[in-house]
């Protein structure tokens, strides 16, 4: 291919600089409009005091951070359980032989039910209902059963994601495995799954980000994590700023995770094309 001429390169650079300048100007204009017009709203002072009260933000932040450690802990111990259970359910749904039909049916029912019921309902039903059957401490702890509810729900979503990954691996791969004399399970283990799992990593990262937030739902059955702690402050101070503080903490964790997921997706596109 002919290399580009110097004038062409200079022209392209000039266009690029012009584009950046226009983008900057336009962004500044939008920001200016927002900064000027929002405080014009009649209720702005009250909203600012109710949601963006600096004094309250600073005073409640340490306790919110402390409560967030519980969220992180719940997230970390749910993760392996969700990964394993999700994989198992995906494999259940993948069964093609007639003898394994009950397993397949179970997989379908499981994903339908746990993706269809709102997470909070599952948390209430399992977090209060199962201990209510008469378990003794510490086996009736809301941490155990609330985590189980989260794990059951999220593994349904993860199972569907993994299943889509498995199905995206071309049939020829299985045929190649068969021709090599590998059994069904060996084909799955050595040929299909490694490819499938690598393909669905970005989608699973999405699930991870969603899980980071849904951990807060365990607050409904007792554990004092960040959402509940913010609520306590809200009740005592009659102010919503603690929730904004909690939102900031969540963003500080989920935004890097989302950016990493984007990076993985871009990398995958580059590898494929």
């Amino acid at each position: 291919m002919k290399s580009r001429s110097a004038t062409r390169v200079a022209y392209e650079q000039k266009q690029k600089r012009k584009g950046v300048a226009i983008a900057t100007l336009s962004t500044l204009l939008v920001l200016l409009v927002l900064i000027v017009s929002i405080p014009q709203a009649p209720g702005w002072e009250k909203v600012k005091n109710s949601f963006f009260n600096g004094e309250i933000l600073v005073s409640t932040f340490p306790s919110l951070l402390k409560a967030f450690t519980l969220d992180i802990a719940i997230f970390l111990w749910s993760l392996p359980a969700i990964a394993i259970l999700g994989l198992l359910i995906a494999l259940c749904r993948d069964q093609k032989t007639p003898a394994m039909f009950p397993l397949r049916m179970f997989g379908i029912l499981y994903t339908d039910v746990f993706r269809g019921v709102p997470v909070i309902l599952t948390i209430f039903l399992i977090g209060f209902g199962v201990p209510g059957l008469g378990l003794h401490r510490p086996w009736n702890s809301p941490y155990i059963w609330g985590t189980l509810a989260l794990v059951l729900t999220y593994s349904a979503y993860v199972a569907e994601v993994i299943r889509s990954g498995i199905e995206s691996v071309h049939e020829s791969q299985r045929a190649a495995g068969k021709s090599l004399g590998l059994s069904q399970s060996d084909t799955m283990r050595f040929i299909v799954l490694p490819q499938a799992l690598r393909r669905v990593v970005p989608a699973n990262m999405n699930m991870l980000v969603a899980l980071q937030k849904d951990v807060a739902l365990l607050s409904f059955i007792g554990p004092v994590e960040i959402l509940r702690q913010a609520g306590v402050h809200k009740s005592l101070l009659a102010n919503f700023t603690p929730y904004v503080g909690a939102a900031i903490i969540f963003l500080a964790v989920t935004v890097p995770a989302t950016r990493y997921a984007d990076y993985l997706l871009a990398k995958q596109h580059k590898e494929r094309s």
Binding site: F51, F128, H136, R137, G222, K234, L236
Partner: protein, 295 residues
């Protein structure tokens, strides 16, 4: 010749004038007394004109659902239940008869959010606290709430007593929207961290699931939950309302700077002074005696 003398003058000129003047003075006196009385009566009713959401109507918000004994059968418009009765009494003293009171449902969150409220007053066992006073307005208190400890029979069988030392060892559950949490942390300081819930029913559910041993509510709520929701609930003891430095008092919640507050306060103070409030309390909350004090 008959000269006009004083008596003539009296008879012919002065006396009729005097009579007329006397009549006028009398009429004026009667009329002005009537006016003063009339305006005094109307003044009480006029306090609230122009200060309510809807002209001529008082919009009161309460919880959804509204619990016994504050409201009976979740129907505040029946006027039955302590808070329903207090609300109607205050309304009538402000000049709103029973048919001019409308009920709506609003949570604590809706009450404290910035922006137009869709009620004039909100009453659902809100405790008056200094921090909350900065953001909303409370009326004069209409009830002093003793805080009570609720446990199950099994806890009593395991040796729980109405003493702070015994209560420290229990696993606590609290409704996080109430001032019970502060009370627990200041007066009992339990050994293990309490679990917090959204509302009273979740707390009793956790009790049924044996995840917590004890909970704290205001005394009437504790009696209700113990008897009706938890079949084997027992109110172990109470912290009387005036025991702590900041007694727990319920007030009607209003938007910050609401002009209606002074009218509501006038009505409530009058009710407290003439004993009406005590009567209403005796009628709806008479079971709240006989619960042992916590040492």
């Amino acid at each position: 010749m008959h000269f006009l003398n004083q008596s003539d003058l009296n008879q012919t000129v002065l006396s009729p004038i005097m009579k007329n003047t006397k009549m006028s003075v009398l009429k004026i006196a009667v009329f002005s007394i009537a006016l003063v009385f009339g305006t005094a009566v109307n003044a009480a009713n006029e306090c609230a004109t122009g200060k309510t959401l809807k002209e001529g109507v008082l919009t009161i918000a309460t919880g959804n659902p509204a619990y016994y004994p504050w409201v009976m059968d979740n129907d505040p418009s029946s006027g039955e239940g302590f808070e329903a009765a207090v609300a109607y009494e205050v309304a009538s003293r402000m000049g709103f008869e029973k048919d001019k009171v409308e009920w709506t449902a609003a949570s604590f969150d809706e009450a404290i959010q910035p922006g137009v409220k869709d009620f004039d007053v909100n009453l659902q066992q809100f405790s008056i606290t200094e921090e909350r006073e900065k953001v909303v307005d409370f009326s004069a208190p209409y009830y002093s709430a003793a805080m009570a400890v609720l446990v199950r029979q099994s806890s009593i069988a395991n040796g729980a007593e109405a003493t702070v030392e015994s209560l420290k060892k229990l696993k606590w559950g609290i409704d996080s929207n109430t001032t019970a949490l502060k009370m627990l942390q200041e007066n009992i300081k339990p050994d293990s961290d309490p679990l917090l819930y959204d509302d009273n029913v979740n707390v009793t559910e956790a009790m049924k699931a044996n995840q917590i041993d004890a909970a704290m509510f205001d005394l009437p709520t504790a009696l209700y939950l113990g008897a009706v929701v938890l079949e084997d609930g027992v109110v172990l003891g109470q912290f009387p309302a005036d025991r702590t430095e900041t007694p727990d008092q319920f007030g009607m919640l209003m938007e910050d700077g609401n002009a209606l507050k002074e009218c509501v306060d006038v009505a409530l103070n009058a009710m407290t002074e003439d004993g009406t409030l005590a009567e209403i309390e005796a009628e709806w909350l008479q079971e709240t005696t006989g619960v042992p004090l916590i040492k």
